[in-house]
Symmetry: C2
Subunit: 118 residues, 2 copies
């Protein structure tokens, strides 16, 4: 019984606070993570919040990446949802942990779409 | 100790297969779910796949909603990630379960950003 998708939920703590408020940097980091993981990027949407924080989505042919940042807490929530075997979500996670300078992190992996296929 | 965000992961099974391949319907359903839940919509990005399937993100001021559909399996993965107390993610879930005609579903709730705030 296989799952259709693999979903990584990253909790990134003690990150570089300046980076967490830099929309251009985060967009570039997310797009790099997606392509380095072998994904095909279809679209993106990023938003800067006032007074601080960024949210952004990257839609890939193999599902999506998402980030929400709280610079005031040095924290970012990142999701990497992929389907198929052509993408390496772990590689995307590694890149983002590095680029955000997360001194602490955890990764929860959840299988999505576990179907009883006949 | 409070969490910054609440993340609902919905597994929607035995859905209406036609609906799962209808980008306009899904976009409208996701936007309705977001606004009915009390969220402020900031942006969206939806993509139709060939031969079937739709992926879509709605960025809200309070985080995001995401959907990926596999019409061939009658399955959709939906994420509802919210922060703050002004949004009712359970209401968005209820609306989407109804609109997609999911005969079976499960909801996993995960707290995001549990910080040791001093």
């Amino acid at each position: 019984m296989n799952a259709l998708g693999k979903h990584l939920l990253l909790e990134l703590k003690d990150c570089d606070e300046e980076v967490l408020n830099d929309l251009s940097f985060l967009k570039s980091a997310m797009l790099t993570a997606a392509t380095e993981a072998g994904a095909i990027v279809l679209g993106e949407s990023f938003h800067q919040f006032n007074p601080h924080g960024v949210s952004g989505a990257v839609i890939i042919a193999e599902s999506h990446l998402f980030i929400h940042t709280w610079p005031e807490y040095g924290y970012a929530a990142v999701d990497i949802f992929t389907c198929g075997d052509s993408v390496q979500p772990g590689r995307a996670a590694e890149i983002l942990i590095g680029k955000l300078g997360a001194k602490n992190h955890s990764i929860l992996e959840i299988q999505r779409g576990i179907l009883d296929l006949r």
